[in-house]
Symmetry: C2
Subunit: 767 residues, 2 copies
């Protein structure tokens, strides 16, 4: 049993190591050579283009100004200083709302911790149950509910506290939900014109023997959304083409590199080797070699483009349909189009950069089956993942290696290496699995057929949370694998399950405190140091960076991985809520985690991360729902715990609590969720009217014509900058609209080439 | 233990009594005097206006033609003869689909019974477990699963059979869901113009200090549905007025009666007594008395109308908003209007006669709370209803009555009366409760704030089904009250519950067979006889009918009470599915029930019932869902039963079954449910275009202007005929539309009396 002193020591060590990380960060970030790692966002924004400290050559790499080292924590106020509206403007709503998750943690747990320490700790402390009992106990346990004798009337305090905590949490949640819903609506209302505001993704267009998909879509919407339909873009299966283009781009980079080399030193034609990574093989002229390769790929690309343009097999039964007004798009996205609800499925189009192109062709029926398959697979993954790992572990022993690769035997038999392998091998399979887990979950989500990156991230996050809940939270409380738990639970009475778990809760407090420090604190400190990107950047910079473009790419600012970060935060919410009434001593550790994480992530979001897409905080209902579920779990576990403490008269009050909480959840769902799912017509109409008044002559068709083109069909050059200055490009393009009298001719004659400029035209133009 | 002979005898008795009922019905229906009871639908349709047999005076009351008695079952083929499309035309889609519930019972259980008897019965029969055991058993048990020894490989047969039954049931359900969805869509597409196709019910209009509700609604929809909004009608709280009008109508009836009497016998002014029901009190001149009363009520009515017209307090924050096109209404009903999803709630308007006016003013927030309250109340009603009944029973004993009313003592002390009371009293409280139960459940549903009669019926049906499931099905299987069951289940392992119930299932087969015969067969036979309406009609006819209108009202054809009939049918589905694999001997009894009920209800729907409203089979998702739930319950119970039979190797296969079934349910929900919830835009557009081509000059505003008027504001005379020939009336009215240029003036100047003819105008016109 860990004593307070043990915990204190551990906390000190962890705090010191976190501090060491922070100091290391403070030092590293001041070096100009690391500038691109720690300020990537500013580079991407174009505000910073080279390290700020000009001067001698050495100063280009190392900061020699001693005064700047004294203020090594100056980034903290700097990170906190930027006001939220500016932050939203700078990094997007997703990031700003993501930070609010940490803030909500502070909002919930600071008052709870204060109340718990001023009420529960004295109530628990002034007993002598543990002293009188012959059990081993620590000082921490004296602060916990374990110190209250069975059947004591003092449990009423805990009951009142749980009600208070629940009430407070719900109050904060409700308020936050309201704020974020209005932030989202405000964001959607105030952002400048975006193609997704006018566009709806139509999936599962039924096959028609007489018409192509494009014609079918056009006719359907001209008939059924007569006054609102503007244009559409069919979706092409351009996965092969995308591969070829990427390869070609790589080759072009190499050619540019050799060309540069030759330009600098025209006396000698640069040479390269044809083998893998240029490490071996025949020596050839670099520029000629890559030029010929590019020519070959260009030819391949042209063929592929030809195929896509000519062969209807490459047209997917899906399309992005754009409307004249936001109102028209809002109507189409929210309504059912035909009798058969599995055909002509409409949903809001995701932002162009948020689209996950590969999944657009999956038919509706297969999606149901895919979901079933993934649900079953996920169930087995969660409860039985230890089986294959144990199997791999049993294979990966010294004898096995020696048998498989006899030539390694002399090496392995060296004592040091042998002991290293023996100590290392058993854990490695599990470690590799845990590192791969988010990727596996993401693959599962992709298999389910979701069509936007943001939805994929949300789905993966849900899975990861369940995995953590079962294998980290429950797995730590109850010994044995998840499968063994499942087995024992099945053979247990339904209401014995919270009892079994609840009774073990107080004993595990010290374990979870250590967990918070090691996983939480250290994780955050590691986050700010960005050790991996730092090393990779310098390695790339040293070995691979040939052109400026390469350096830009080597920067790799990354983005918040919602699918892994959010479930981890949720674990701390769960721990905090479960232990609030049981062992309040755990709360300060959680508070430190939330506070530290808030500052660090705010800094990272301002200076480093560059979000791939903007979903306008579409993930909030998930966050809210998971905090509610943590609340309900904590209530059930307390119910179980108290029922082992002979406090039966409390049971009815405790049973009412989860019911009320779930009802609160339903209330919030009714009240706020629609802001994240639907787009109110009033908002759409307001924005339409305003825009119409401001820009009566706006050529919306030109603006939208290329917005939802597969990235591979856009100019290769602006491939990367699609995200930021898309609309600027579009404003310039003025595609002549051939058919202007459409408003009065609802059903046009057969598709005869005079149609709106569809992807066909665009593709053919490029050929 | 009932033997086959016992069951056979019981079946014979029940069949004979059912036959006696049928004969009685055959005789009674041929008497001209009963014509209005057994052919009310035809009277209401206006096809029949007096008994068909003209002739002597006696023949007006009694049918003397002996040949007609010989064909006493001729109504059966007659009932079956009418083809379904004609039936839909004659009685509406609701009734036709309601009949399909019985038909689906036959479709599911005829093949299941055949397979079960040809496979399961031999498999069960050719064992000797029961013979070898020393337990008491009947021949029926030898046909059941009880006869298979523990751990036998023969259980695989049952497994295969359960899979077959499940597959078949799902197949039938899926097909039927598809058929009914397309019937519904076809019905909605082919019915003639109805006001609800153009109208949306808007609830929770926010209060505005500057504008009245009517102005607010008009402005809001003129802005946000600019091209589609046509007109609207605010909802008035006219409950008091409705009462006054009803009273006045009654008085008018009396005056007409006395006037008629006077006209026939002008020599004597008719007199009446002023007391209760005219039984005592001062004798006065009948015509004068009622004329003065009517005058007083007219004045009261005028005052009330004045109040409603002038006082904005009587205007509810709700309105029926009508659109130019079905497309516009479909869009408005399916979309969210404003940021706050609890304001400006839009939903399809129910048919005018389906509206439940009283509930239209309940604010959204209170609805959530009301639902919570009702859920809790319903939980207590289901599990604890025996407590107050036991309490009443303990009060209502002979001694209690003697104490409360000593003067009754000599009467009660008579032996016969005493024993009657003693035998009668204990049960009477329960009986009264069970008779009142549907009304109580309906009251609960009304309290929840649903705004249409059809929704109320559906909600009540769901509650009644749960009540029957807990108290009839589970209550019969497990001894003890529902509360005791709940208590024992809470203290039991979660997966012991199906075991406990499952193990008892085979023993209860004979009980349920008797139940089916007594409750099902006899109930159906009683249904066709219509004994209660028959007696009441003749009583009214004899004592109360004064005018022809009174006779019309005395007829009271009634309608299918979906809220009570459907849950009862569902109980038979549950019994059939549970016993299909356990005791197939029960199936024929269910088949007889479904067959008999189908014929009888078809006859009643054709000849008697007159539906209050038409919801276009909106109840089907509920029916489907409940059959699915019966399927899952049967699978879980079989799982429990087999786990007591040491057939553990079957468990994984049996666990997969409910999961697959639930997945099937989800699939069906995705595929078909939207047909019952949404209205596809394509359909709306098609119908709009067609209508526009056919009647380009249709004055829709006139057609819709009075459609959603509170019935009390319509002409008193056509109060009853609102249902059938509403639109004929509206076609005649041609209200001059004052504002025709609205299309081009989206936001009109302030409401200044020149607005569309709203209820205000109508109300004022009547004053």
């Amino acid at each position: 049993m860990a004593t307070v002193a043990d915990i204190g020591l551990s906390a000190t060590i962890n705090l010191l190591s976190a501090l060491a990380f922070l100091v290391a960060f403070a030092v590293l970030r001041l070096q100009p050579i690391n500038d691109r790692v720690y300020f990537s966002k500013w580079y991407l924004k174009g505000i910073r283009s080279s390290p700020t400290h000009a001067g001698a050559f050495v100063q280009k790499f190392v900061n020699l100004n001693p005064r700047s080292y004294l203020r090594f924590l100056e980034w903290v106020p700097a990170a906190l200083k930027m006001p939220e509206p500016e932050l939203i403007d700078h990094a997007g709503l997703d990031s700003a709302v993501f930070l609010r998750i940490y803030l909500i943690g502070l909002k919930i747990f600071v008052p709870i911790a204060l109340v718990a320490f001023s009420v529960l700790v004295p109530v628990n402390w002034t007993n002598s149950t543990l002293k009188d009992s012959k059990l081993e106990y620590s000082e921490i346990d004296k602060l916990s509910i374990s110190n209250i004798p069975n059947g004591s009337q003092r449990f009423w305090t805990h009951l009142v506290m749980v009600y208070t905590f629940t009430f407070w949490t719900c109050y904060v949640l409700r308020k936050e939900y309201g704020i974020i819903a209005s932030m989202r609506l405000h964001f959607l209302a105030s952002v400048k014109r975006r193609p997704d505001q006018f566009t709806v993704l139509v999936r599962n267009v039924p096959p028609d023997p007489d018409e192509s998909v494009s014609e079918l879509v056009e006719h359907f919407f001209l008939v059924n959304h007569r006054d609102h339909y503007l244009t559409h873009q069919v979706v092409y299966n351009a996965n092969t083409l995308a591969k070829v283009v990427a390869k070609k781009k790589n080759m072009q980079n190499w050619r540019d590199f050799y060309q540069l080399k030759y330009d600098r030193n025209p006396s000698k034609r640069p040479t390269c080797k044809t083998g893998f990574l240029g490490l071996y093989g025949e020596k050839v002229d670099g520029i000629d070699f890559y030029t010929s390769k590019i020519d070959k790929l260009s030819q391949e690309e042209a063929e592929e483009r030809q195929k896509i343009a000519k062969n209807p097999k490459f047209i997917m039964p899906a399309a992005f349909v754009s409307f004249r007004t936001r109102w028209g798009a809002a109507v189409c996205a929210q309504t059912q189009q035909t009798r058969n609800p599995t055909l002509w499925l409409t949903e809001w189009a995701p932002e162009p950069r948020d689209v996950y192109w590969k999944n657009l062709a999956i038919p509706f029926v297969s999606i149901t089956i895919r979901r079933l398959i993934v649900a079953v697979a996920f169930f087995f993954l969660t409860f039985f993942f230890m089986i294959p790992i144990t199997f791999v572990q049993s294979l990966a022993n010294i004898e096995g290696i020696e048998k498989a690769a006899p030539f390694l035997k002399p090496l392995i038999e060296i004592r040091f290496i042998k002991s290293f392998i023996q100590g290392f091998l058993p854990g490695i399979a599990l470690k590799i699995f845990l590192i791969l887990l988010p990727a596996i979950l993401m693959l599962m989500s992709k298999f389910e057929g979701l069509s936007s990156l943001s939805a994929l991230q949300r789905r993966s996050a849900a899975k990861y949370y369940l995995f953590l809940l079962v294998n980290v939270f429950l797995g730590s409380i109850i010994a044995g694998t998840a499968f063994q738990q499942l087995d024992s639970f099945i053979h247990q009475s339904a209401n014995d399950i919270p009892k079994t778990i609840g009774a073990t809760i107080p004993q595990k407090a010290t374990f979870f405190i250590t967990y918070i420090m090691v996983d939480g604190w250290a994780g955050i400190a590691g986050e700010i140091l960005r050790l991996k990107p730092l090393i990779i950047f310098h390695l790339k910079n040293f070995f691979l960076v040939k052109t400026d473009k390469d350096r830009e790419e080597a920067m790799d600012p990354g983005s918040i991985e919602f699918s892994t970060s959010e479930p981890q935060i949720q674990l701390y919410f769960l721990l905090g809520l479960v232990y609030a009434a049981v062992t309040p001593f755990l709360l300060p550790f959680i508070l430190i985690f939330f506070g530290l994480a808030y500052v660090v992530f705010r800094h990272q979001i301002i200076n480093v991360y560059n979000q791939e897409y903007e979903s306008a905080a579409a993930f909030w209902p998930d966050v809210h729902g998971r905090i509610i579920s943590a609340l309900v779990i904590s209530q059930l576990l307390l119910l179980g715990l108290l029922s082992t403490k002979s406090a039966a008269e409390l049971t009815p009050f405790l049973i009412a609590l989860p019911i009320l909480t779930l009802w609160f959840h339903r209330y919030c769902k009714n009240r706020y969720e629609s802001a994240f799912v639907k787009y109110p017509l009033q908002e759409a109409m307001m924005k339409d009217t305003l825009e119409h008044a401001k820009e009566p002559n706006l050529d919306l068709r030109a603006y939208l014509s290329n917005a939802y083109l597969h990235p591979v069909f856009k100019d290769e050059d602006d491939d990367d900058s699609v995200s930021s200055d898309e609309d600027k490009d579009f404003d310039k393009i003025l595609v002549p609209t051939k058919r202007q009298s459409r408003r009065n001719t609802p059903i046009p004659s057969k598709y005869d080439g005079s149609s709106s400029p569809s992807l066909h035209d665009v593709v053919e133009e490029k050929l």
